[in-house]
Amino acid sequence: MATEKTDVVIVGAGAAGGILAAELGRAGMKVIGLERGPRLATKDFAPQDELRFFQRQDLRPNVKRQPVTWRPNTKSRATPIPSQSYGNQAGGGTVHYGAVSWRFHEDDFKVRSHTIARYGASAIPEDSSVIDWPVSYTELEPYYDRIEYEIGVSGKAGNLQGRKIDGGNVFEAPRQREFPLPPLQVDQVGVTFDAATKKLGYHPFSTPRAILSQPYKGRPACSYCGFCQGFGCHIGAKSSTLVTNLPDADATNNFKLITNAMVYHINTDNSGRATGVSYYGPDGSADNTIEAEIVIVAPFVYDSVRLLLLSKTDKFPNGLANSSSHLGRHLMSHIGARVFAAFDDRHINVYMGPSAQKHTIDDFNGDNFDHSKLGFIRGSQISAGPAGLEGGPIASAMNMPPPPGVPNWGEGYRDFFAKYYTRYLAMTGQTEELPYPNQIIDLDPDIRDAWGLPAPRMTYDWRRPNELKRIEFVNEKMLEIGRAMGATHVWRAPSSPGTPGSHHQGGTRMGSNPKESVVNKFGQTWDIPNLFVIGSSTFPTSSGFNPTLTIQALAYMSADAIIKQYRKSPGPLIRA
């Protein structure tokens, strides 16, 4: 039996785990990280192979070994989802992500009170479970600044200490200083999108991305090869956790990463304290244990919830940290509305440059527009890039349904795709979803993973009146933009049949009230003070923005609280 003792054990070495490892290690705490997958290096990403990395998802969980199931409602039987969008190695999802790095709006942290103040309580759908975050933008701003400068984010400020700046996102929350790096180079997608949206009176800008526009901290600038979303960066210009926080953690000499280690149980004692974790080793051995003073759970949403449920004991019969019965609830994801534009008068060459969400308008996100006559609340980030967020021909053929009247196979499809592959762009409405208490993750009773553990099961259907109206609104806006571009063909993708999109959030939500939340704003569980959950599972509401930068900012805030408060006085960081 392999048992090790340490100060802190972190489950999952992704965006959150990497930061906590570096920060706690720097503060002199001994940290062991347990990572389900391998630790790869920049040189491993040399093969720029769309089939291997994008299509077959080499950097993501194998859906047969690690199934996650879904059913639209409790009356149906769950089946495994065909692909998963999170990571499966040290660095987590940041290895293959598009590196889109947003700060949330100020009102994203107070959806409930903000909505009631502007539109009245009746504007919030009765069956939703919208609450305010227990943390404000102002409180998180120093940590947003910290992560942007720590790893290198490229962009242009649109709101510098309240001063609005053209060319940046004029809807962004006020930032104290400019981005550390200027925006990435513009391409024909950006030129086309900017011209059309400006003509319509909107405010386009280069999407802030954790991709280096100039050399930074010893790493080179992006070469615009285009093998980006879905791929590890072959030159290390993408600011993934793998090339930023994890090397920093190594440099503390207080961090050890154990790879191919699948944690299956959080151990607790009779006093209700977490004592450590047990994991399966690379050889399948089950008798491996880490004993720790602090246990930090930082994998993806599914596994945070599953691990807490799997770790139930007589003292915690409903799973750990679940005295509220809110564990696994309020699951959200981003619902993708998509519109395509194909041109006869120009090439777009969508395969060039960083691929995900290249240019954006924020005019219809959050509460940046008046909802009073629209019949729904909250909005969507609208961006342009390749279909499937990756520009190779496989991704385009798989993710772009042809326009109405054109078949998706045969001579008609061949001629369409041969003509327009280099002459199209896609727009994505990355749409906020409200939380609903009966959108849940629990344990699948039938399907197990390669370690014999019950698969995480989602019961989820986004097709609620508020979300359906919003999707229609966003699609109409994108069709309008496509027409303003002067495209020959403008068409929309059919909506998904209720399936979850990407960027899952919720499941261990944070709150001010222990009766309706799982953790406090520091990710500390209300029930077990030495057990923390850090990641997008703690988000009470989702925003229309990609979650990673906010996960990272929260990780810095939690690390600060652990170092400055918890270490001196172990116990609840917030008295309920």
Binding site: L51, Q188, N349, M352, P393, W409, E411, R414, D415, Y421
Partner: protein, 228 residues
């Protein structure tokens, strides 16, 4: 550089179809036989190669009949034409054949059963194997797969079989040639994708014209770039 013309495609299709035991004129789809009256004389000769799989674009997994069917199916999904490389030109059959003993080894029975069901459906509906139907009939059969109306399927369901065939045809057309398809960059020529260029310049990215680079860059091979 290969010229992707009718004669070339007819040759490729014949090569795949010659796999069928006792291969002869009857194995060539009606439409192709009609379109290429001077070509099918060659295919009347039985295969005599001591290694019957060699140079036919498969040999790792499919039996001769199934190879001929998959070749014909994928060519209907992504048909070749003069100046427009199709599935046969790209070696999509070879891609799928290799994948079924590699990354997709757990889909062997999916293909076996799907192809058996397809044969049963074609026999029931047209009293012929899929490969012997003309283009129009083959298109009708594929449409019946895609819309789920084809009978004789249990598992896989006809739509699932269609979707997988389409996905694997796309992969075989456009994946790097290292995986056994996209032969001589046929798929990339069709759509004008230049491959894994390590750098695109600001001028490349701002251009409204076709990319000016002069090479297709694959993982193990390069070729002068000339669009099909």
């Amino acid at each position: 550089m290969i010229e992707l013309d009718e004669a070339r495609r007819a040759f490729l299709l014949r090569a795949a179809l010659a796999a069928v035991a006792g291969a002869g004129i009857g194995t060539v789809p009606e439409s192709l036989a009609q379109a290429q009256p001077t070509q099918h004389q060659h295919s009347a000769q039985p295969a005599v190669h001591p290694h019957p799989s060699s140079a036919r674009g498969f040999g790792a997994f499919f039996n001769d009949d199934d190879a001929a069917t998959v070749a014909a199916l994928t060519e209907r999904l992504m048909p070749g034409a003069p100046g427009k490389p199709g599935a046969l030109d790209a070696g999509v059959l070879n891609y799928i054949d290799l994948a079924l003993v590699g990354a997709y080894f757990d889909m062997q029975d999916f293909y076996r059963r799907g192809l058996n069901s397809l044969e049963a459906y074609c026999q029931k509906t047209h009293k012929e194997s899929f490969v012997k139907l003309g283009d129009a009939r083959q298109n009708e059969v594929i449409a019946a797969l895609a819309n789920g109306k084809a009978t004789e399927f249990d598992w896989p369901r006809p739509q699932a079989f269609f979707n997988t065939l389409r996905t694997h045809t796309v992969e075989g057309m456009f994946a790097d040639p290292i995986h056994g398809g996209n032969k001589d960059f046929a798929g990339w020529r069709l759509v004008d994708f230049p491959g894994a260029h390590p750098v695109f310049s600001q001028a490349d990215m701002l251009s409204k014209n076709a990319f000016a680079g002069d090479q297709y860059i694959g993982l193990q091979s390069r070729a002068p770039r000339r669009r099909a």
